[in-house]
């Protein structure tokens, strides 16, 4: 088991008391692809970040169990965590415009990631970076190595991000809305690339998104989150048989070309869902 989360809670101390953003999330994943969907603010990012212990400093984590590949994340010291981050689990953020360092060349950023966990000389690392950029299907990788992030498109930036996170051969890739900031035309391309690389390398994938059909297309299983809870976990093929009214609601809200509706329904929420 790569990831084993049992009853994860993330809370923030605020002026008016504590605010619980993640309220008892549980799931397990091996070398498979799990999608996490849910509306904005449902706690998807915090769940993913908790797994790498990359939460904001004012956040508090609690869990009955929070294991990564046998390591207890809650008890691990910072050194152990640094061995997990990057090396065992890669983390792709939403917008390459902000998640790549603007004053460092792309080549250096990818090389740094490789060298951090594999050692070797600067020259070797740069060669490895060129090879990695080639693997994420960037044409003319040698030229791109010398570019700065602002000089490449969003799609290219996200390819760089993927190359950087795959550099140390991690066992798990966490992607937090990796295509939300991209043009619709490149979204599928990037997802397919990621899926392809993950399958080829036999890795696990956690793909966070708010696009339920898209996620179900690329993942084996889907966890639907709402207000800090996992409402329902389904295998991707059985979305149509979703039981939970929230999941049904999400599916219902999609515009469809084959069965057009005069007006999209409004998503209903029920406080009773959070009781169980």
């Amino acid at each position: 088991m790569l990831v084993d989360i049992q009853n994860l809670r993330v809370s923030f101390a605020t002026r008016t008391g504590t605010f619980e953003a993640v309220r008892g999330v549980s799931f397990k994943i091996g070398t498979e692809k799990l999608g996490i969907v849910g509306e904005s603010g449902s706690g998807k990012s915090l769940t993913a970040r908790a797994l790498m212990r990359l939460l904001p400093p004012n956040a508090r984590i609690d869990a009955d169990r929070l294991n990564f590949d046998g390591t207890d994340i809650l008890k691990a010291d910072e050194r152990t965590m640094r061995g997990i981050r990057g090396k065992r689990a890669g983390f792709i953020l939403q917008d390459p415009k902000y998640s790549l360092n603007p004053v460092m060349t792309i080549g250096r950023q990818v090389a740094e990631s490789w060298r951090q966990h594999k050692g070797g000389s600067r020259k070797q690392a740069l060669e490895a970076a060129v090879d990695l950029l080639d693997q994420v299907r960037i044409r003319d990788p040698r030229r791109v190595c010398d570019l700065y992030p602002h000089e490449v498109s969003g799609g290219m930036g996200q390819r760089v991000m993927i190359a950087m996170m795959l550099a140390p051969d991690p066992a798990l890739l966490i992607a937090d809305e990796p295509t939300s900031a991209l043009d619709a035309t490149v979204q599928a391309e990037i997802l397919r690339l990621m899926e392809d690389l993950v399958s080829k390398r036999g890795m696990g994938l956690i793909l966070i998104s708010h696009d339920l059909p898209l996620v179900s297309h690329f993942c084996d299983r889907v966890a639907v989150m709402y207000a800090g809870h996992v409402m329902e976990e389904l295998s991707a093929g059985t979305l149509a048989q979703a039981k939970h009214p929230y999941t049904k609601g999400l599916l219902n809200c999609l515009p469809s070309l084959t069965h057009p509706k005069p007006r999209l329904p409004v998503l209903t929420r029920d406080a009773a869902w959070l009781q169980s």
């Binding site: 981050r85 953020l93 360092n101 603007p102 990631s113 951090q116 140390p168």
Partner: protein, 337 residues
């Protein structure tokens, strides 16, 4: 290529305009001040005909535009007029006083940056902890205690009571005029002359005024560095860097810090320019013969040529440092290249 040429032309035009503005302002300072330059030159009790002769000699009977034209022509010949007080050409006075200020300001800004930048980074990284608080109090003191208080206390303790610091001035009497005057910067001149005793003496005299000036500049640099770093540390690329498994040191110094370089350069340039104006109070307490003292004494004696000359120099320093800062941050930030 044409883009570069255009940029260069734009730069030259803006520098040209700035310089013209500077010269106009300096000129106006000399004319608009409620000081009669003739009386300042010939004295209160001069007979009417002497006053009249001086007026003609100084060209003050001509229209103002003509006067301005003459002033510019004079400047282009490197002539800043003569000081009534010292009887020397202003340009040679400045050549004597400015190196003293340059030496003090350069040392102070280097010390301030070396201490202030890491302190600011540290405060930002430890935001809200007792380390941050302590650094803040230290900086607050730097801002709020008047210079002369610190300077006097320093002289009292280290010179008068403990006797471990040299007294006021740039040199001990024994070293006066011992090393040949080449740059006017005593430390450099001593090194050129190979006179290590003189060098040691010059350095010893610098310690107190440099520390006091550096303390004030450091307070500012630390505060700004902290603010810039807090902003940089909130960046998404910092999360990326941490997600790569980098050490805190790399995350802070290799990823976050280079992103504040541009803003820091501006702060350092402004701090340095401020110091190069000459710190009147510090220079006075330590009897440091610098530009600040020269400017103040001239102003108080209504000696306008030195005032105009020194003002022009300070303006030039600002223009020069701005250009330098511009060039440096073109190097630091790929986005503005």
């Amino acid at each position: 290529m044409t883009k570069r040429l255009n940029a260069l032309a734009g730069l030259l035009a803006s520098v040209g305009l700035t310089l013209l503005g500077l010269v106009i302002i300096t000129f106006l300072i000399g004319r608009v001040m409620p000081i009669d330059p003739i009386i300042a030159a010939v004295g209160d009790n001069a007979p009417q005909e002497v006053v009249e002769r001086a007026r003609l000699e100084m060209g003050l009977d001509q229209p103002i535009l003509m006067q301005f034209f003459h002033y510019v022509v004079q400047l282009l010949h490197g002539d800043l007029g003569r000081s009534i007080l010292t009887k020397n050409p202003v340009i040679s006075d400045i050549a004597r006083y400015f190196p003293a200020t340059l030496e003090l300001a350069t040392a102070a800004v280097i010390v301030a940056a070396i201490i202030g930048i890491p302190l600011g980074v540290w405060a930002a990284v430890r935001q809200g902890t007792w380390i941050d608080q302590t650094i803040r109090v230290v900086c607050l003191a730097g801002h709020s205690v008047p210079v002369f208080v610190l300077a006097l206390i320093s002289l009292l303790v280290f010179y008068a009571a403990l006797g471990i610091a040299p007294g006021p001035g740039r040199q001990d009497i024994v070293f006066q005029d011992m090393v040949p005057h080449i740059t006017g910067v005593l430390t450099i001149d001593s090194i050129i002359a190979g006179d290590w005793d003189a060098l040691w003496d010059a350095l010893a005299h610098m310690v107190q005024p440099v520390c006091i000036l550096a303390y004030f500049s450091m307070a500012y640099i630390t505060r700004m560095t902290r603010a810039f770093m807090l902003d940089a540390l909130r960046g998404e690329y910092v999360i990326t860097a941490r997600a790569k498994g980098l050490s805190p040191f790399s995350v802070i110094w290799i990823h976050a810090f280079p992103n504040v370089g541009v803003q820091l350069v501006t702060v350092l340039a402004l701090t340095y320019a401020g110091l190069l104006e000459g710190a009147v109070v510090t220079e006075t307490v330590f009897s440091w013969p610098g530009l600040g003292q020269y400017l103040t004494v001239s102003l108080m004696n209504a000696d306008m040529n030195p005032v105009m000359g020194a003002t022009l120099l300070v303006g030039l320093v600002y223009v020069g440092l701005n250009l330098l800062a511009d060039a440096v941050y073109r190097q630091l930030d790929p986005r503005v290249r």
